[in-house]
Amino acid sequence: MTLPVSPHDARAIRISHVSKQYGDYQVLKNIDAEVTRGEVVVICGPSGSGKSTLIRTINRLEEINSGSISFDGQDIHAPMKTRELNRLRSRIGFVFQSFNLFPHLSVVENVSMSPVRVKGIARDVAHDQALRLLDRVGLADKANAYPGQLSGGQQQRVAIARALAMEPPVMLFDEPTSALDPEMVGEVLAVMKSLAADGMTMLCVTHEMGFARDVADRIWFIDAGQIIEMATPEEFFTNPRHPRAQRFLADLRH
């Protein structure tokens, strides 16, 4: 799979001074970070730290109170026509913890519907592409099944194929394996690993530290709405600097 590369900027996503609050509660505090093209970033941290909120602000499923997030050289939180926002969103793949497949559509329709309806691709072309993507996530034989007939792991792989069908240069994963039975985590991680190996720019909120260690180029550790540590997996797992990160890793080992 070839990824569209824009020559003018090596940064895929730039998060600048992003803050968000619900009433008095500050969820995100002045977050500043960037993801370069082809990079795999794993966001980890204790629950309630704001990791899911952060990743959801990147395609504007959550609004922010201040700051900016640029993608493709455009601030996705700037006032803009909804049409423009939809266009930007269609170029950011998003995988949800709860899969959110469309239960009224067959697996292949789940994957091919948005290319047809959003990008205006011919139905048969989108169908063939969907079959190729399903083959890629190992579910070619389930093309005509309905989501309700699939296991959690299979549903999540379909959800990944569905996001890939829009050919996004960036993929966001919001705890993609947290809702899965343990024996199904591996199959989803394998698909994500193969995506990373193909050079996809990825941002993953996950508790799978094995995945983080093997696949991530960098780890962002978030606590109480702040990124308090950015490090390579090696640095992070062997020699975390921040005491909160040390405690987090110690808790994980138990």
Partner: protein, 252 residues
């Protein structure tokens, strides 16, 4: 008794079927069916618009529609019919045919009820489906049309259907403003016979029951077909499943 009923049907079937047409306006069963079909056909899309307005983030859309829905649901249909029948000509000076008055009132009334059903169906889906559609780049109307409504409306088929059935039954109230429908025709028959009200209105009840039951039955079958399709029981698979069974039975 049975003979009376047969005699009434033999004598008056045309009046019950089409009213005084072609010598007068179309009436009877034909008019009841037309009024029902038009009411349902118009109230259904209208109810979706009302439901979307009720869920809108814009208060200038949400509030007037909420008031309309609450008021309409809080007033007996007969009251609404009488209001439109007497007030609309007074206010506009226009001479509105009773059929149009009845149709408009029914559409508004049933759409108000249906809109709550549709709204409940949408709300029950939760945020996940809308978020998934948005994340894929669908706009609001695209998400509604391809993702939300197909599910919400399907889940609500039983409630939607019972509203359709009650719409058909409510057309009988047109009688009070002289809409020439089936009930009107039956009461004409009764007025001519004078001595057989039980027989006449039994025929009337049976006809209404048959119409409403057929609609319920059609929708039930439709619902089952969709359920089976979603469970993956049609298409290529059943032949694959059934074929070996057949072979086995042939071998026996």
């Amino acid at each position: 008794m049975i003979n009376d009923i047969i005699a009434i049907i033999q004598d008056y079937w045309l009046l019950l079927l089409i009213g005084q047409y072609p010598n007068g306006p179309l009436g009877g069963l034909a008019n009841t069916l037309i009024l029902s079909a038009l009411s349902i056909g118009l109230a259904f899309p209208f109810s979706i618009l009302l439901a979307l307005a009720r869920l809108s983030k814009w208060s200038f859309l949400r509030w007037p529609v909420t008031v309309l829905v609450y008021v309409t649901r809080g007033v007996p249909l007969l009251m609404l019919i009488l209001w439109s029948y007497f007030l609309v000509p007074l206010l506009t000076g226009a001479d509105v045919p009773s059929f149009v008055t009845m149709l408009t009132t029914l559409v508004v009334y049933q759409a108000a009820f249906l809109s709550e059903v549709v709204r409940a169906g949408i709300v029950a889906l939760g945020h996940g489906q809308m978020e998934a559609a948005k994340a894929l780049g669908h706009g609001y109307f695209g998400a509604m049309r391809f993702v939300i409504l197909p599910q919400a409306l399907y889940n609500m088929i039983p409630s939607i259907l019972s509203t359709f059935v009650s719409t058909i039954k409510d057309t009988t109230l047109g009688y009070v403003i002289n809409v020439p429908d089936l009930t009107f025709a039956a009461s004409q028959v009764n007025n001519q016979l004078l001595t057989q009200p039980f027989q006449v209105f039994l025929i009337l009840a049976v006809i209404y029951y048959a119409i409403c039951w057929s609609l319920t039955h059609v929708a039930y079958r439709l619902e089952r077909r969709i359920t089976r399709r979603r469970a993956g029981l049609t298409g290529v698979r059943p032949t694959a499943v059934i074929a070996p069974v057949k072979i086995v039975s042939e071998q026996l």
